[in-house]
Amino acid sequence: MDADSLSYIFLNAAIINNFVLALFLGICPILGVSGKLGTAFPMGVASAFVMLIASLAAYGINIVLGYFELEFLSLIAYIAVIASAVQLVEMVVKKFSPPLYRALGIFLPLITTNCAILGVALFQTSYEYDFLQSLTYSLGAGAGFILAIVLMAGLREQVDLADVPSVARGAAMSLMLAGVLSLAFMGFAGLGG
């Protein structure tokens, strides 16, 4: 598969170099919000949505800053725009759809400080993706993030019912699960290559 083809970009971001399990981005929510499938999935969806916003914002910012040759400001610009966009989305959701806010909104502030979001913006810039590619990349990354957090949540729910020794409860268990998941995802290395 061609490394620049949209399908490869999507697969790469979602599975082969999964943001969470291979690139170590967005670990905090993966450890924090993956206790229950019921919350993990909305969290994943909310993150994926913000990734999309971040990707679009970064694309725009790159054009503007590229025009002024001020690329070094990109980081500040990305994060400022992402943070504001998230805040805005939060307000809008809170105002117009309280049920949705209760389901997703509480995660939104958390997402601002999620590496995966900024990661999308930074990586698509460094890969010099064009608009469609950026879009695909962010969608892939979002799908990968949802996959990872949902798998984690499922496993954690299952392990919650297990007779886990006290020392392994909590964060250590989540990390072990993430480690094994990441080990299993290594099977996808080189896929499509």
């Binding site: 919650d160 019912l161 297990a162 007779d163």
Partner: protein
């Protein structure tokens, strides 16, 4: 035969086939048990409100006389099983545990103990409602185990038509053969009961479901049904829990009682053959339910068999009569080995709903399967493969161990479990699944109220 009936679909999915172990009693004709010197008659022997005592301490009663009246429509009266005197009304232990009020009768020794209280009636002339009242007055409750008042069961709500009376002659529990003997020896009573039941329900037809391991019962019933009568015998594959009404309705008619619903919602009412025999025998004579047929069996019983036992006979007396020595530690089980309950007090009497008494000495239990410490579930999935209701006992068990009872109910349909015990029976890890589910249901019920 089994193979063929499987092909003809006369069964339900999943379930188990434990060894029948009925040889001990199935060929024994029904015998009468002598009268115990003291009878214990709890005021609640049925599902519903307790009966109200009509007698006082010291009062003399004759056999068949009402000693407690029904407290409303959701209750049934109680009748004296012996001629004797009222010793008192006291708290007495029950099979379930807590003590409840019971009338104690001292049997008159030397009395002939014939029924002296009967009010024969012309049943054909009665309206449906009157027929139901007659059934209630006779104190009849389901003989299949749940002790549900029969008149209530026949009292189908307005607007619900019942097209079939299903009669439960499966007796799928190992060891038990009381229904089997009833069908053979009291065929006419059963059929008379069925006809009365159809009359009470206004049901145009009746099906008697019998498992294929009771060919003699099938032959007896088929022989006794009058030609052209809308009653037929449905032959079913011997499989546990074929006798559960939900499974039976599925096997016989291909209908499924809705989850959380009752059989009449699919046009069916299910009754045990024993109940039918009681109806058919008692109503025309105007007598009341004061004795029943019980299988007494198990490795610890010297004279196993099917006995006609007065209601109220304490277990201690019954067991002595059948030659139980009581040297070994034993489980005394009311009902069958799959669903029956052990008792803690031998003062507990035989009540209207008890269909069998099993005695399992410790020594014999080895042969009946191990008793071992529960081990963690290995997720073998056997329980899922046998649960006739389509539950996931493995998941339920894990949740129960972590006391997540609400999740069990909300996501895994705990309340659909009818505690048949198939899952516990097959679990190689010896997990007391049914026990978990009972706790969970009890707690959920309490928390909801």
């Amino acid at each position: 035969m089994g193979m063929l009936s499987f092909l003809s679909g006369r069964s339900f999915p999943r379930g188990i086939t434990p060894p029948g172990r009925k040889a001990q009693t199935r060929t024994e004709p029904i015998r009468r048990l002598s009268f115990a010197p003291r009878m214990v008659l709890p005021l609640t022997q049925h599902f519903g409100k307790p009966a109200r005592p009509l007698v006082q301490r010291g009062q003399e009663v004759v056999r068949g006389e009402p000693i407690a009246e029904a407290d409303g429509w959701h209750s049934v009266p109680l009748h004296a099983p012996v001629t004797g005197s009222v010793e008192g009304i006291e708290l007495m232990p029950t099979a379930r545990g807590p003590k409840t009020e019971a009338i104690l009768l001292r049997t008159h020794p030397g009395d002939s103990q014939t029924v002296r209280w009967a009010q024969p009636q012309d049943l054909g002339a009665l309206s449906r409602r009157q027929l139901l009242e007659t059934i209630q007055a006779a104190g009849i409750v389901g003989q299949g185990g749940a002790s549900f008042p029969s008149h209530l069961k026949f009292d189908v709500p307005e607007g619900r038509a019942v097209d079939t009376l299903v009669v439960n002659g499966c007796e799928c529990e190992p060891y038990l053969s009381a229904d089997h003997r009833t069908m053979i020896e009291r065929t006419e009573d059963v059929l008379a009961g069925v006809r009365l039941g159809m009359q009470a329900l206004g049901a145009p037809q009746a099906v008697i479901g019998v498992e294929d391991d009771k060919p003699d019962a099938i032959a007896a019933l088929e022989g006794a049904i009058e030609p052209g009568e809308p009653i037929r015998v449905g032959i079913l594959r011997a499989k546990y829990p074929q006798g559960s009404e939900k499974m039976l309705v599925r096997s016989l008619l291909g209908r499924e009682v809705p989850s959380g619903g009752l059989p009449y919602e699919v046009g069916v009412v299910v009754n045990n053959v024993g109940t039918m025999a009681q109806l058919g025998y008692l109503l025309p004579r105007g007598e009341a339910l004061i004795e029943r047929i019980i299988t007494v069996a198990g490795p610890g019983v010297e004279r196993p068999g099917n006995y006609r036992v007065p209601v109220g006979t304490p277990l201690r007396y019954l067991l002595e009569e059948v030659g139980f020595e009581g040297d070994d530690p034993s489980r005394i089980i009311l009902g069958g080995p799959m669903m029956g309950n052990t008792v803690a007090f031998l003062d507990v009497p035989v009540t209207k709903g008890v269909s069998g008494v099993l005695v399992m000495p410790e020594a014999a239990q080895a042969g009946e399967g191990r008793e071992a410490q529960p081990k963690p579930c290995i997720r073998c999935g056997r329980c899922v493969e046998v649960c006739p209701v389509g539950l996931n006992p493995a998941e339920l068990g894990r949740l129960a161990a972590k006391r997540q009872y609400e999740v069990m109910e909300e996501r895994f349909h705990l309340n659909d479990c009818f505690e048949c015990g198939c899952c516990s029976y097959v679990c190689p890890s010896d997990i007391p699944l049914v026990q978990y589910f009972r706790i969970a249901k009890a707690l959920n019920r309490e928390r909801a109220s």
